[in-house]
């Protein structure tokens, strides 16, 4: 038997070479070198930038945000005029991005789920149609689709003079779609409050129903009850507020249409393009999510005598949700990021407004840093929310 090597007497004193061959020492050295190189490169770029900015007489800093923007934005959700400052302009752009992304996410989820399920249909023709839809629209660049819709909408619909009216009060023109909206009234504020109260009531009823079911096994028709509470309370508030019926109807006045709510062609193009493109990805996510649930789960539910509709809701969907949530998050983030393509068709989103700001003030670095950090923030927020949701849905093991 040989002598063990690690007795203290065997250790000889370490030379420099030994230190350099030590893995831990090397790791520290590598890291110091890497960080040093990064700092050096960063310092080089920053010093160049500062020099170049000085040469071009551009002052750095975010002071320009308080200056008057002096450009108009065609679509605003908050009060904005050319007299407002750049910060407000950027906020308007951000709200427009959020608006189109939110609607796009809702719509692409609905359409994606429909086509995802249709691709698994037992009906041959439905299955093939869904496949054609998915394969076609996911293999064409989304920017091309935006350009197409943006060219199509003004081209396909008539001048406001001969607006199409598919439903009473709804006008389709080359300048977008016009919808009738109710005139502002205190009743609507009351309805909003009623909706919040209804949600609180539903929350407590649901808690009670779960407690009762756990204790006695008696199910409670929560969906119908919840719907009843919500609709009932909101309706009550509407009647209590005097049941206002005044509507702002879109009408042709002079050369343009006034009144109502205008959905611009730019907005429609961005929304349709993003929704169609992303829905094909959502459909694939939904399909693989459903396919990931083993057939045995259906059979297990059958053998417990659970009805098929209930089995889908309580057994299959919760499990496929677990598989589908991470890739779905990615698609939602992609849609939000792709909404920046709005700049190509002139929808005033965050990037578009920043671009104008950048061109007017020359503050390129500041403008780019603002929209990059906002997108990063949005991405992080979505990830955080989805991680929380994921954790909530995750399998609880021992």
């Amino acid at each position: 038997m040989s002598k063990p090597q690690n007795v203290p007497g065997n250790v000889r004193s370490k030379g420099l070479v030994d230190y350099l061959n030590d893995e831990n020492v090397r790791a520290v050295l590598y890291q110091i070198v890497a960080i040093g190189l990064i700092i050096l490169a960063g310092w080089y770029l920053v010093s160049n930038t500062l020099y170049n900015l000085e040469q071009q007489n551009i002052s750095t800093g975010y002071g320009f945000l308080d200056l008057e923007a002096s450009f108009e934005i065609s679509e605003t959700m908050i009060d904005y005029s050319a007299k407002s400052d750049y910060a407000t302009a950027l906020l308007v752009g951000l709200l427009n991005t959020v608006k189109v992304s939110f609607l796009g996410i809702v719509l692409c989820t609905i359409i994606g789920i429909i086509f995802g399920i249709a691709r698994l249909s037992s009906n041959w023709i439905v299955r093939k149609l869904a496949t054609v839809y998915v394969e076609t629209f996911r293999n064409i660049p989304v920017l091309l689709q935006l350009f197409f819709w943006y060219a199509l909408i003004p081209g396909a619909f008539p001048h406001p003079r001969d607006a199409l009216e598919p439903l009473p009060g709804v006008l389709l023109t080359s300048r977008g779609m016009y919808l009738p909206v109710p005139m502002a009234d205190t009743a609507f504020t009351m309805m909003g409050i009623a909706a919040v109260i209804a949600c609180v009531v539903i929350y407590f009823v649901k808690k009670w129903a779960k407690k009762r079911q756990d204790a006695t096994g008696q199910p409670f028709p929560m969906f119908l009850a919840g719907l009843g509470i919500f609709v009932g309370l909101v309706l009550l508030a509407y009647l209590a507020g005097g049941a206002p019926t005044d509507m702002s109807m879109p009408e042709l006045k002079g050369f343009n249409i006034r009144g109502g709510y205008n959905i611009s062609p730019e907005f429609m193009a961005v929304l349709i393009g993003l929704t169609v493109y992303t829905s094909t990805y959502v459909a694939e996510v939904v399909r693989s999510g459903i396919q990931a649930v083993p057939n045995g789960q259906w059979e297990a539910a059958d053998s417990l005598g659970i009805r098929r509709t209930v089995a889908l809701r309580k057994v299959i969907l919760p499990q496929s949700m677990r598989v589908a949530i991470p890739p779905l998050t990615n698609q939602y983030l992609n849609l939000t990021k792709n909404s920046s393509l709005a700049v190509a068709v002139g929808y005033p989103d965050l990037v578009s407004v920043s671009n104008t700001t950048m061109n007017q003030t020359g503050q390129a670095i500041e403008a780019i840093s603002i929209f990059m950090s906002i997108y990063l923030g949005l991405s992080l927020l979505t990830s955080l929310f989805m991680n929380w949701f994921n954790k909530k849905m995750a399998l609880v093991e021992r």
């Binding site: 790791a27 590598y30 890291q31 890497a34 960080i35 990064i38 770029l45 160049n48 930038t49 020099y51 170049n52 900015l53 040469q55 249909s121 037992s122 009906n123 041959w124 023709i125 439905v126 149609l129 394969e135 076609t136 293999n139 064409i140 660049p141 989304v142 920017l143 091309l144 350009f147 197409f148 060219a151 199509l152 081209g155 990021k337 792709n338 920046s340 393509l341 700049v343 190509a344 990037v351 671009n355 950048m358 390129a364 670095i365 780019i368 929209f371 990059m372 997108y375 990063l376 991405s379 992080l380």
Partner: protein, 367 residues
Amino acid sequence: MSENAKSPPLPTGTFMERAVTWSKKNLFDGWFNTILTLGSIAFILWLVPPLVEWGIVNATLAPSIESCKEATGACWGFVNANLRLILFGTYPFDEQWRPLLAMIILMGIICGSLGGVKYAGVRKWIIPMWVIGVPIICILMWGGIFGLTYVQNSYWGGLPLTLILSSIGVIFAFPFGLLLALGRQSNMPAIKTVSVVYIEVIRGVPLITVLFMASVMFPLFLPDGVTIDKLLRAQIGIILFTAAYLAEVFRGGLQAVPRGQFEAGDSLALSYWQSMRLIVLPQALRLVIPPTVNSFISMFKDTTLVVIIGLFDFLGTVKLALRSDPAWTKYYVEGYAFAAAIFFLICFSMAKYSAYLEKELRKGEQR
């Protein structure tokens, strides 16, 4: 496979009888499916005949505005008349054989690389193909030697530009992405942090912001007197962007290699780079081939974004052709349909091939 196991013995009878059985099972199984089938047929009848009538029956190919005005259908004449502008952009007309040849070579290399994944005989040529091919493509596109006239890259455009931007983007992003993925897996905290921050920041922002940064901020980064042109800036932006996505693809591959393989390398006293090169990466990269092809597809589609910073890629030249003559402007549907068809053909066939590869590569594990 499960389908085969479940399917009943082959139906017998005449063709008609079998057709009836099949459609009863696949089309008219219950009232709900019957409604769906009838609805789908109605939809197809509503959509397809007018489309065929517009696109083929009443369409005209003649490259003149007059015949387009007469035709009630599609004006493919727009594409016919502007084909070279759409394909090659503003590249000097007499020299357009050069981008054509470059494009064919590039496509050949791409197909060869994809095929090399499957056929071992081609595999050893992948790297030599790129090493020899890229300089040839550069010489063809730029010229300036061998009697070729010099063509500034502000004249490049069309399909060759789209192919060059996306494939060069992926090729150069490949080593960078690999380093980032290894950095993210590293035990060294500083290197890991730098890699994670880079990957997450780039993946958190849209490509267009990276392109804006490349086109507006890069000139500020450079020392006085040094300039790089717009195309190169966009190309660098695309490489930086793609690297972050490829890094995540590679990370997936690295994580799929069992821990024991790393330990096996250690126990053979291989250095980090030796065990990576000889043991881990060959296994990891094999696994990530299909997702890498998918990254290339999405990069190919996303290259269209360079239109926004004023380059004329394939989509840009279509728009250029539409604007070239006011008379053509209203034939945007034909122009976009042509571009969409080309993009679709390339992306769809690559996606199918990647799905096929995925199945092929998994064969070794299935017994």
